[in-house]
Amino acid sequence: MTMCNITLNGKKTKFLPGKTILENTRDHGVKIPVLCSHEALKPYGACRLCIVEIEEQGRKQIVTSCNSHVRDGMKIKTHSPRVQKIRKTLVELLLARTPEAAVEQQLARDIGVKATPYPEQGELCIMCGQCVRTCREIVGACALDFVHKGSKRSVAVPFFRDSKECIGCGSCVFVCPTGVVSMHDEISDVRGEPERIMDKWETRLPLQKCSSDGNVFATRRMLEHFARKHEVSEGFLETCSHCLRKGNTK
């Protein structure tokens, strides 16, 4: 592949044309702050923190590096005064929305923002959409999406309760950078059976007990979801991976 000739922060270098500006700068050891970007997910461009200043044929432009591709002859500045000024405002706004979020506080420290001049809202969700996109792109359950708009915008399951699409896999919990998405397992008061509760999605899912060692190991809907998408071995739906590996199927 022919490489692109790039000027990165004043130094001449070569970038891979198939990769985004963000990926290329990372390969060159230049750190650009990001919030909504995740290597397993498609570029999204929501947090705007990854902005860089590019110059082509004398024209300067601010673009989000996560979803912009490289062209030959591009001059890229990742920390120009203009970029840093905008980035500072962005961090101040994000910090105002979620002052308690550790990821936000760390970001503010990195950038040198001590406090936000905007009124604090005390939210925990930063709207990065990683849970929504993971559920859609990786898991394929499509249980989550944004609802409402403007200041009322939030992430929810349809009709805010009992999602029939959520499989309780916990990928949204795993990927959430602020910990606002959570789940826990408990014994149901009603049926006396073990259940997983997706706290934020108001959804309860029955858990499967391993037929061999009796331990609870996954939600039933999660196992069914995998069985629909992939060919699974016999006993997959009833036996935990630990016992399957040992060959203890019943």
Binding site: D145, F146, V147, H148, K149, V157, P158
Partner: protein, 153 residues
């Protein structure tokens, strides 16, 4: 969902080009015919268009033109855009609110009226403007608005 509603939605879906983009147009039609988007209707449309329910629900909550609860038979829109605001639209909204005993965004118990605040109806020269269903009332006063509402009882 009853079969009647299904048939109505099926007809509306046929009218539009298939695919995700049709969802807004179909919801507009459902909203107009049924007065709101029921949970069943949203689920049925998403199933027919083969889009996730979460996506359809996202669209349904995004636009203020869609309501998830049944609206009144007569929709009263009070414009609160800049020109109407200057001409005292807040007082008019307050008067309607007192008259119908509902807050903006609510529906009367008998389902006759629902009250909505809107930002601009695009006819600022007629300020203050109140729209009931498809009828526009220009330059209304607080007293006039009461007699306007009586026409729709």
């Amino acid at each position: 969902m009853d079969e009647g509603t299904k048939t109505i939605i099926d007809k509306l879906i046929k009218k539009h080009k298939p695919g995700e983009n049709a969802v807004v147009s179909i919801f507009q039609d459902v909203q107009e015919q049924q007065g709101y988007l029921s949970e069943d209707a949203i689920r049925y449309v998403s199933e027919k268009l083969e889009i996730p329910v979460s996506r359809a629900f996202s669209v349904a909550t995004f636009y203020s033109a869609f309501s998830l609860t049944p609206l009144g038979r007569n929709r009263v829109h009070v414009c609160l855009g800049t020109a109407c605001h200057i001409k005292g639209a807040d007082n008019i909204a307050g008067r309607i609110s007192r008259q119908l005993k509902i807050k903006p965004g609510e529906t009367t118990g008998d389902r006759k009226f629902s009250l909505h605040k809107v930002r601009c109806l695009g006819c600022c020269a007629l300020a203050p403007v109140v729209k009931v269903n498809d009828d526009t009332y220009a330059g209304v006063s607080q007293d006039q608005v009461v007699s306007v509402l009586e026409k729709y009882r």
